[in-house]
């Protein structure tokens, strides 16, 4: 029985992956649709990265700091060193990871609320510093960023989509492997009870820092991918909404799970776009607020837990 279910899941996964890969083939090169999908993929990477940090019990309210740093570093080095964006995004990621470790050092001893405030503060500090360094970052004007694939190439948007898809799949698989590894188990133990984890001989500092570094790395890559898609970066990239979206996506999809951030990003984006067609604005945010509250209270494991809930109530 159990084996069957796993097989079904695997089947759905494989079929869906194939579908995702042939979307451009079925529907032709539809630039609008691919743009929407690309932005969704960026946020899938971003939310998954945020969720990994949350797995260690550390909820960041300022992940836009890493998103923006990744973007800026990647834009700056493509412009000054002439590196191709596909290489530069990893440099951006590494730099974000480096900053992540520094921030992690200040945070690891802190309790959840303190950590939330301090990370929130780091996004504000990153914003201030960026605008005060116009010679490097272009200040408020921002700087252009090379497109991931040059627009002179025919159907560049399709290649962009495939690159994003590959990176997203790779990131999700890596994060999946990490959570199944020693590190994932350690992080879970730390989240459940830090003191106990310590007694069990888990090096809490090391694993918490690792979570920070890996999460910041992937977040930096997501930020770099986004700005290389947009072709321009401005300090708006540090906005509060950019910090909060991955939280909303992860919680509604399912915290601490692999599928949660993915499902959450897609469902919320979908709801968001539909509400947009009705011309609602504040109502959309009110709905987001209500969804968050209801999910935290009634569905703490997010949307991915619905099937199991149904199963349990109808055995």
């Amino acid at each position: 029985m159990k084996l069957d279910r796993i097989n079904i899941k695997t089947g759905i996964g494989i079929v869906s992956l194939i579908l995702a890969f042939i979307v451009p083939v079925i529907l032709g090169i539809n630039q609008y649709l691919l743009t929407v999908l690309i932005i969704t993929l960026v946020f899938i990477i971003y939310s998954s990265a945020w969720n990994l940090l949350a797995l260690s019990g550390q909820a960041s309210l300022g992940h836009a700091a890493f998103f923006g740093i990744g973007g800026y570093v990647s834009a700056i080095i493509t412009n000054s060193l002439g590196l191709p964006p596909i290489v530069a995004i990893f440099v951006g990621g590494f730099f974000a990871a480096f900053i992540g470790i520094l921030i992690g050092f200040t945070c690891i001893r802190m309790r959840e609320w303190f950590l939330a405030m301090v990370t929130f503060g780091f996004a504000i500090i990153a914003h201030t510093i960026t605008t005060e360094l116009p010679w490097l970052t272009g200040g408020w004007d921002g700087i252009p960023a090379k497109r991931l694939i040059s627009v002179t190439i025919t159907n560049y948007i399709m290649y962009e989509y495939y690159i994003m898809l590959l990176i997203a799949v790779a990131v999700v698989v890596i994060i999946y492997q990490l959570t199944k590894s020693r590190m994932g188990l350690a992080l879970e133990a730390i989240r459940e009870n830090e003191l106990e984890a310590k007694v069990m001989g888990i090096n809490v500092t090391k694993y918490k820092l690792m979570a920070f570094a890996v999460s910041a790395f992937f977040t930096g890559i997501a930020g770099a991918l986004e700005i290389h898609h947009f072709g321009y970066i401005t300090p708006e990239v540090y906005g509060m909404d950019i910090s909060f979206w991955p939280i909303i996506y992860s919680i509604s999809g399912g915290l601490f799970t692999i599928g949660g951030p993915i499902l959450g990003t897609i469902v919320i984006t979908f709801i968001w776009e539909i509400l947009r067609t009705f011309g609602l604005m504040y109502e959309r945010f009110i709905l987001i607020g209500v969804i968050l509250i209801l999910i935290v209270i009634f569905l703490p494991r997010g949307l991915v837990s619905i099937p199991e809930k149904i199963k349990r109530s109808h055995p």
Binding site: I12, I14, S16, L19, T35, G139, Y176, Y232, T234, I258
Partner: protein, 436 residues
Amino acid sequence: MMNKKYGILFAVLVFSALIAGCVQPPEGEVKEIKIGIVAPLTGGASTTGTDMWQSAVLAAEEINARGGVNVSGVDMQITLVKGDTETSREGGVKAVTKLITEDKVDLLIGGFSSGITYADQVVASEHKVPFIITGASSPIITRRTDIDTSYFFHHCPTTDDYPEATLLFVNDVVKPMIYERFNFSADRPLRLGVLYQDSKYGEGVYEGIKKAIEKHNLGIEIVSAEKFKMSETDFRTALTVIKESKPDVVYPAAFLNEQTLIVAQGRKDVGLDTIYLSVECNDDPDYYTGVERWGEYSIQESRFSPYAIPSGPIHDAVGKFKEDFKNKWGTSPSMMGASTYEGVYVAAEAIKNAGTLDKEKVRASLAELAMPQIIEVMQNGVITFSPDYRESKFELYMEQLRWDETAGETRPEIVWPESIKETDFVLPDWYESGSS
């Protein structure tokens, strides 16, 4: 575990793809001109965005009612398509991509907030779609070099233009009156205090102030320049520092909410009794309500005012626009609405002159355009885009706020330039100059 979520992920992906595929518009045989209006219809700047859309609709209906646009002998109607930027970069890129690739618009008008417009431009430039920008104030818009900007036409003043006009006025009118009253010698520079928003806009105005002083060799010295964070509400410390620098005139580069508080806190709490200047975006009914009596005698730079109408050739056109807008939408149009309204007329004229909807020819036609001013005063009375950076040049005017007993609020009256003014500038009795 993972795979199931993948399943849902891709099912939804495919579902949305199918929906998008179904709603693709039919390829047109209809003779129509499709114009995309890029504006923040939702999110932080939705009030402005809605206003831009409504003004554009008004213009398009007027043109269509007159039989549309004559394109090489065929009368074509204008169809407007909404492009909601959601006041975010992600929303802007999605909206502009949809307008260009799905709706297949012939031309774009709008664009509000420079940070968002920068990203929108990349898409428009890639597809070589002419874009008349009527709501972003950064001069970079048409000066950036990373993309081909030849398709962008900037039809609203930039952060370089506001301070240039404002300081010329201060130099011509305000300075002599202060110097006469306080017996200052002519070689004493006028002391200017600047309080600017820490943003693209605020910094742009501050840079513009410096450029204007240098360009016209004005006898004005910046004695203090303080920054504040966007949506700050407590300006007392910054104003105290500015007061200490003893300015003759204070120039805040702020948004409406901030400007209201700066003027009120400056006069009420800090006792900085000076002439406050103000950037055009604050010429809004809410400003006059919010600033109460504290705004009396302060200076408002403008190009389209809710209350004042410039005397001269466009006087009647402005009145008619305001009335039509009110009849159609029940509200008063704003400045961004006015330039977007003109933008539609500019587009119609350019397409008529080009005689085709071919984007390259429309671009060329826009570049050579010279048409009479409509509802905003233009330099030399003509809307034309400068050959270097494709910017139209507005004749910005200065208003002074006067107390209106019947309204119970202050009202702006145009005091500069000479050609369109309604009344003369007055230096109030309570005015205190800086040090000699």
